[in-house]
Subunit: 396 residues, 2 copies
């Protein structure tokens, strides 16, 4: 019989997108839906960098270098140096989004059957890339009660087996918004050095830190060979559709392997490399206003959430996500109900149930992730909806 | 010890690019190098489709639908219908280049340890995607003496084991330029139906056929579930840097699985989707002049090659590649010598040794691939070089 692969069968569907048909039905009924479910910012892409693409004047849309244009990698060296990250153009491989950087990292460092430790809840697509690479995800619990701080060193070490090859962190974190402290990063360094592990550090939201400063994995000293930085311009410049990211490491063997994966797929997209290169020349205060806007939104949504009876939302230090515990038994059912059966003043909200971000079945059932990618007026209207919805839902 | 993966170790380096350092050294010495080694066309990207990107006026560079913009998929339905391929927008998943279509096909249809049969010589990156997916490539010999026709049905069937899940063809072929006949395509259909195999049909060069007509795998009847079309706009519109391709199939289970892989990487590049969509509206005679140009180049290069004593080049029916057997013992060494130790009137040529396109070690050692992606004047100058080079090389 003609059958698809087990890999194709077991590949997880996107937990964020499974409610989409219900949202579409709600819209068809005339209900306005506030989208707090996905990390697609409403922030305008800086017009200067769109113009760099629009004003490009080449005649042939050629393959670029498989590692990305050299001019762009040189610019990225400049970009990283502003964050105290010292790398050379040869230590940067431009990827098709952060997604490809993660997949290349798995492919180059782990074999099928190897294990990767990830503090849960975590970015759900790590599961997908793990399935593609045949890698086994070992989640380790971080709790909403501590604001999703790094689990204690003993807990992390307990999860390490002879098959463990890497730890992934996302800092600041998607979905929790948690910003790892310098101390936590140092603990991670101790562990990876002691146990010969790779650290994959997904720093997609590096610029968006509202409490304290960002410690990049590339700031850690004495673990150069262990560390891979996974990066993307998607959120930084609201350029998600460009599909440009980067894998950065000082490990020469990893670079050589990743380069072979990069050559197989020929090159990263050319247009968005032009955009990414132009972005490094944005005024240095570019992030100030964006950060101020996200901070205002964070303050609004966290305050509103915690004011709703039975809701708990730890204050996220970065990114543009908040996790909240709701007074409901099953957030999956509640989120579907919001779209299927609820409206307030002709409006409702779409949230991401947190269960999809946990690797351990049954965890996070009362939690949801909220992406504050809409303005404060919309956030307030959305919170009005949530407040009314919980009231109505719990009266049933 | 901290080590990279076996996958990273065994991943093949690009056989086309390994001569690059020698070409760079030749250029530094002031030697002009004619590049016949890679499939990067010199043809201008149609200005209208570049303008579609340049004139786009969105404010946020958003993620597109994971399967690609619906408007683009609808346009692709129109494009395919012109080639007698009847599909719906739901049967098309837009990919990041043809590369991703091939990888998704492997991932969705084959598990690690499964086998895929590919007539050799074949596009070298199939090896890379196979390593990424843990799939085992079973090459089956096609001969330069027959112009690289499909091996006989018995030979194909002999290669089938319980682990065989798919056959890949590239039609017209890279690297051989061979255009599979309707009869050969029907033989393939019989085999895939009889043995429950998938047929991956890479049709990147569909428009470039100089002898007879193109038979798409999608023209075959009664094997809808077995067939996956892998496509790309790279060569069609000289838009290699766009990184836009497509996976097309009527198999619903495959579509559902591929969609999960597509969701994990979020979306294909947005800019080049605009370009691809505009390309479908190019005047219908757009390919006439391009085809005429490539045919003139093919006629020139094949005639010149066969006029050199000891050289044999079968007439390729499509794509923009020719394979030639040279009167040398080891084409790898000869190709390096061309760059390192030879020049004629301050010029030399870069060719792709064919060994990298064969899966069986030792095959194709006297053969090279020539990509006729330079104009006829340059081709003639390059052939002058080759003629002199072989004379000089064989005098040694």
């Amino acid at each position: 019989m003609l059958t698809i692969s087990n890999r194709g069968e077991t590949m997880p569907a996107s937990p964020i997108r499974k409610l989409v048909p219900f949202a579409e039905a709600a819209k068809k009924r005339g209900t306005k839906v506030y989208h707090l479910n996905i990390g697609q910012p409403d922030i305008e892409t800086p017009p200067q960098i769109l113009d760099a693409v629009r004003n490009s004047d080449f005649k042939v849309l050629e393959y670029s270098h498989s590692a990305g244009n050299e001019s762009y990698r040189k610019k990225m060296v400049e970009y990283y140096s502003r964050s105290g990250i010292n790398v050379t153009p040869e230590e940067i491989i431009i990827t098709t989004g952060g997604s490809e950087a993660i997949l290349f990292g798995f492919m180059a460092c782990l074999d099928a059957g190897d294990e990767v430790i990830i503090p849960e809840p975590f970015y759900a697509n790590y599961n997908g890339f793990a399935v593609e690479a045949g890698v086994i995800v070992k989640p380790i619990f971080s709790s909403i009660e501590t604001g999703f701080a790094l689990p204690p060193m003993e807990e992390l070490e307990k999860a390490i087996t002879p098959k463990t090859k890497a730890i992934i962190i996302c800092n600041p974190n998607n979905p929790t918004g948690y910003l790892y402290s310098k101390e936590e990063m140092e603990i991670l360094k101790q562990i990876i050095v002691k146990h010969n592990l790779f650290l994959f550090s997904d720093e997609a939201y590096r610029e968006f830190c509202y409490e304290g400063t960002h410690t990049s994995a590339m700031h850690l000293t004495g673990a150069d060979d262990n560390i891979l930085l996974m990066d993307t311009i998607s959120k930084r410049y609201s350029a998600c559709g460009g599909r440009i990211g980067a894998l950065v490491t000082k490990n020469k063997a990893v670079l050589a392997a990743v380069m072979k994966f990069a050559q197989a797929r020929l090159s990263p997209p050319s247009f968005a490399q032009i955009l990414g290169e132009a972005a490094v020349d944005l005024p240095l205060d570019y992030f100030d206003s964006i950060k101020a806007e996200y901070k205002k939104r964070r303050d609004t949504i966290v305050k509103r959430l915690n004011a709703i009876p039975g809701v708990f939302c730890p204050n996220p230090g970065g990114a543009f996500y908040a996790m909240a515990k709701l007074p409901v038994e099953d957030a999956d059912i509640f989120c579907q109900w919001l779209l299927e059966s609820f409206s307030y003043k002709g409006q409702t909200i779409m949230l991401a149930p947190a269960s999809g971000f946990y690797g351990t079945p049954g965890l996070g059932k009362q939690e949801v992730r909220l992406a504050y990618v809409i303005n404060t007026t919309a956030i307030n209207a959305a919170m009005d909806c949530l407040e009314k919805a919980l009231e109505e839902y719990n009266k049933k």
